[in-house]
Subunit: 423 residues, 2 copies
């Protein structure tokens, strides 16, 4: 077993980060360290694929085992993420040549890319470097997205935690409004992420169950907004319960395709889209029905909320990172590990895999069977799907000042061997 | 010891609810149950003092010991709250006569009111019923406010938990922006509560410490907004750190006294104040400096977030409820239990008390010594004050569906003995 044959690995994070993407990084690095006969160093790309293009690599070997294990409970992207998509080989061959130069200079034979649908496309392109340009590399994609919109896999790491956060936040705020509604606020509107799919919005409806009888009305991006029916529904709920909670997806749209968030709001300079969808919906209810309202926009808080991450989600995020390395060691290329649900009661899952070509740029929508007939809620089928993903608490350790002990790496750069890249 | 001499107690919740006001209710009811020689039933007012005026009482004796103990980990007001202030005796004598009728009809001799400065005024007025109208009653106020603006007491139950939530949320979102800033979002703006005082906004600055080097800029209501200086500060932070988090209080104001939230935004009907302060600040930064931004408005989520309540806060909220009953049993009237800090390192506190006349309608502002010289941050003195209040986690139990086990009472009404009140 000569060190000559051992290849180094490149790992990078891509797209919007999540509460558990670092748990995947933890799975990658810890598993690579257990496979030293096959994998040499693990270099992380600073700011995703950009770190590869600019030869800005971080040697994760400089971090202790304890520091790496802290990644498991630290939100966000420890090495920096990016919003950047490789062009096709025809459109920008220089980018690919550059990647090969960097990989070659640092003896990189494994490429792990941790992201959503767009990032899977980047990973797919890299996985074809062997075939198209003769550079031997194994590229494995590690699924990550709060939007839960990757195909093939039953669910995506990142989603369970944001779902748990939104469901708990909706529950807590609904309790609050219920306390105030006799003499004050009757409407609470919460805006959540999910520009194209309503997976996260559906989580708001999970706050209500048959025991607590909380009235939640959901506005999904999948269903065009019907103002009259919506206002009537809200009115009915307030009459029955005294109050109503509304979850509006940032992607909720008017019948003509405009986002609700675009509706009317102008700043002092006359620019549109100052506010979000929540204030639009809240003001609309106030104008029509006269109810006092409060509204919140969760934005980054929802996807960064590691303090209340789902234990299922953390475990799966770690498992996907681990599986990616194991697949690489087994000689695989151009695949993504997946989560396969084998049973609902009790919830059981195993690890599968799929070809990257089946994942790249494909968006999985909410099944119609998950949305209730009136279009404002979810079905039992949706609940059965969501519950185990939100199950369990995986609390980070805390400092005495009341804040979680999240790790921050120094991320010292590996010495460059090449000249700068002018993409 | 005859039951004739035993008086019943009235307990009610008032004003905006918090993550821990029910912990005070728990302290009241559990302590009253231990003092059965003095206190008969504990009636809760449905929706605060309104429950007394309308004779809408809830017999908490119908709830099991286990259910009552669940109040300790359930956010919001279990019996409903209200925004309602008693007029003066001169202005509305009928209200006071009605209160006496209801108290007499239900043999009520103890009045516990759980609220902030306005509610303390109501409690003070009730405490004078003995002197002014010859009805013997002992009225004790139990402090509660996320705004932390009650005088005399070192801090207010409700504040520690909202501070912990805002500090953690700022920390988590800042980690997120730090991951994205190389190619995408550079600014994160979070709007927090506190219309008159910056206590909650200050909590955002607690996310940054010398170890993690997170750049946080705070806009306090105490300091008039200086646009030029603010933008320059944000620009400097982005240059140094690559990104910047901004915490804006809902009460932040322009030099002329207008709220930032009022700035410019108009809905389709031309009405002002559609959005909050966060989108105004975020857009202002974008207009001037060109940075990509995200913004969030925490609203009710912050004050309802029992899932990440501070252990110090929960303990103190319970202790205030317990102390109120003990003071009542000891024959006190027209007072409020207070939290007295006796040591910072280690943090120690005891229970004191103060006359209600010193509390009613008095607002405690942030000391100037807590705000940093540039006006955009906090001092070490502020940190020393805040840290122990945010210390410790007091997690609720969870269901298998991933949601906390918050209790919901049936709140069955006590049979009315009087005719309806037409105030």
């Amino acid at each position: 077993m000569s060190t000559q044959k051992k290849k180094n690995a490149f790992y990078a994070q891509s797209g919007g980060v999540t509460a558990v993407i670092n748990a995947s990084a933890c799975g990658v690095i810890e598993t690579a360290r257990k496979n030293k006969h096959k994998i040499g160093k693990v270099y992380a790309g600073r700011n995703g694929i950009i770190g590869a293009l600019t030869e800005d690599l971080i040697d994760t070997g400089k971090e202790s085992a304890r520091a790496i294990s802290s990644l498991r409970h630290t939100p966000s992207g420890a090495f920096g993420s990016c919003r950047f998509k490789l062009k096709s080989l025809e459109d920008n061959k220089r980018e690919y040549e550059r990647l090969i130069d960097v990989f070659e200079a640092h003896n990189i034979g494994y490429f792990f890319y941790n992201g959503g649908g767009d990032s899977a496309d980047t990973c797919l392109k890299v996985s074809r470097l062997s075939r198209n340009m003769g550079y031997p590399i194994q590229a494995i994609h590690i699924p990550k997205t709060v939007d839960n919109d990757l195909p093939v896999t039953d669910n995506c790491p990142g989603f369970g935690s944001v779902a748990k956060y939104i469901a708990i936040s909706t529950l807590e705020a609904s309790y609050d409004v219920a306390s105030m509604c006799a003499t004050s606020t009757k409407i609470f509107v919460l805006e959540v992420m999910g520009r194209h799919t309503g997976w996260i919005a559906a989580a708001g409806a999970m706050a209500a169950d048959k025991d607590n009888g909380i009235p939640v009305v959901v506005l999904f991006p999948e269903i065009k907004f019907r103002q009259k029916k919506f206002l009537q529904t809200v009115k009915d709920r307030v009459k029955k319960y005294g109050y109503c909670s509304v979850i509006v997806s940032e992607g909720a749209q008017w019948p003509d395709g405009r986002f609700l968030a675009e509706q009317g709001a102008r700043d002092a300079f006359g620019h549109a889209q100052l506010g979000g969808a929540a204030p639009v919906v809240a003001n609309m209810i106030h104008e029509s029905l006269g109810y006092k309202f409060h509204w919140a926009v969760a934005d980054y808080l929802q996807r960064a909320a590691r303090h209340i991450a789902s234990a299922t989600d953390v475990n799966q995020a770690y498992a996907m990172g681990k599986a990616a390395v194991e697949f690489a060691v087994a000689g695989k290329n151009s695949i993504m590990p997946t989560i396969k649900r084998t049973s609902n009661k009790p919830y059981k899952w195993t690890i599968g895999s799929t070809k990257l070509s089946r994942v790249a740029n494909v968006e999985k929508m909410m099944p119609a069977s998950f949305i209730s007939k009136d279009g404002f809620g979810i079905t039992q089928r949706c609940r059965t799907y969501m519950e185990p993903l939100m199950r369990g608490e995986d609390y980070p350790p805390y400092h005495r000042n009341g804040l979680p002990k999240y790790i921050r790496f120094k991320n010292v750069a590996v010495l460059k061997k090449l000249e700068g890249f002018k993409g």
